[in-house]
Amino acid sequence: MHDPTRIVPGDPGANVIEARITPPLMAARGLGCVVGGQPLLSGIDLTLQARRRTVVLGPNGAGKSLLLRLLHGLIAPSEGQVLWQGQPMTQAHQQSQAMVFQRPVLLRRSVQANLRFALKVRGFTGRERARRVDEALEMAGLTHLAHRPARVLSGGEQQRLAIARALACGPQMLFLDEPTANLDPAATARIERLIMGAHDQGVTLVMVTHDQGQARRLAQDLIFLQDGRVAEAGRADALWQAPRSEALRAWLEGRLFVTDPR
């Protein structure tokens, strides 16, 4: 039986998770982003399989959040392209995705109104919208807070609302940019349960985290970024056991690995 993913050797900064069985949901080909003449990401080649949980790791400034934004189409790449089911990604494809940010962006409205707004934007009307609002509230454990202003919720509740809002729209792929940063273990656990529940429903997850424990709990596939390039990518269980890049090995061992000592 074949492993569904394969590490393709080549440029050490551009390993590829290559699909062999199922067609990839999303792929990046030669993706790069230059800001003010400075390349922040370059030569990113990766393939994201449907219904997988991919965790993006790397030190500060490696380009993790930028990569998510490029993949989700929030930022136009300076080079390369993002493919959705083999086609260049369009705005219509973007509607099959959702993103949750490190700091939840909630409207100055009630919890329920935040959900209603997102569903209205995505074209859900009437009973279907009401049903999805109720389901999302229940899934996130926020039913009792439905009429509360969203911005008075605790940090964990706000993030659960942001995730519930994203999932209410029924995305195929969910991007999560450090959704549990600055949250306590209890809040983190609830969010991880929410995320895993979404995955069980068939949502493909791409998540940035700094937390090694969280990465070990959630990752099926791993992308390790270093200095704006993919230092390593592949099946998480294989990489945990035998990291090939010095950067990932150092990170796993808790050593400081600094390429630019300035």
Partner: protein, 235 residues
Amino acid sequence: MDSLFDILMRAFGLVAAWDGTLSEIVGLSLQVTLTAVAIACVIGLPLGAALGAFRFPGRRGAILITNVLMGLPPVVVGLVVYLMLSASGPMGVLGLLYTPTAMIIAQTLLVTPIIAALSRQVVEDLNAEYAEQFASLGVGRLQRMGALLWDARFSLLTVILAGFGRAVAEVGAVMIVGGNINHVTRVMTTAIALETSKGDLELALALGLVLLGIALVVNVIVMTVRGTAVRAAYA
């Protein structure tokens, strides 16, 4: 000669008596000002939201123009509106000169840039916070503008208040286009100017007290609403 205290007391007496003249002048003032502010909101809020939320060629120039227009001298606006509405002007046929409508037009021209420029800043700040989330959700342009205006509603109250303050205290433009005609176009500010020049300081002061009272009431209402909104995390 009466002391300032005597004049003040008589002015309070006039306000307390609230006679027909006073009520007519205050009523027309509020009618003209509130209508002008309402029209300015209809034009200025979407304009400010568009300038704050969207990037388009010429945007910086448009922002510069609205900022410059905020400082329009009222007498210049009054003169321009006068020239437009006078018998020989392009809109002279409408016969609007020396009517409350002419005063509303002048005040609208003065207030719209204030509301547009200040709401642009409020919306731009909010848009910076919401932009990525809106892009992720795929929020359309009109939806975005509507959502930003709605979510900034309590901050925009202060903007509207600034416009109201400018309009209700304005004298130069309404004097030129309204003519300060008794029972037709006499409002608080033009009446104060007239009564002061006539030496009828009681009525002038009484109108001034009413003007202050209106400003106070409006401010208290807006501050209360805003304070409640901030406490409830809606602002």
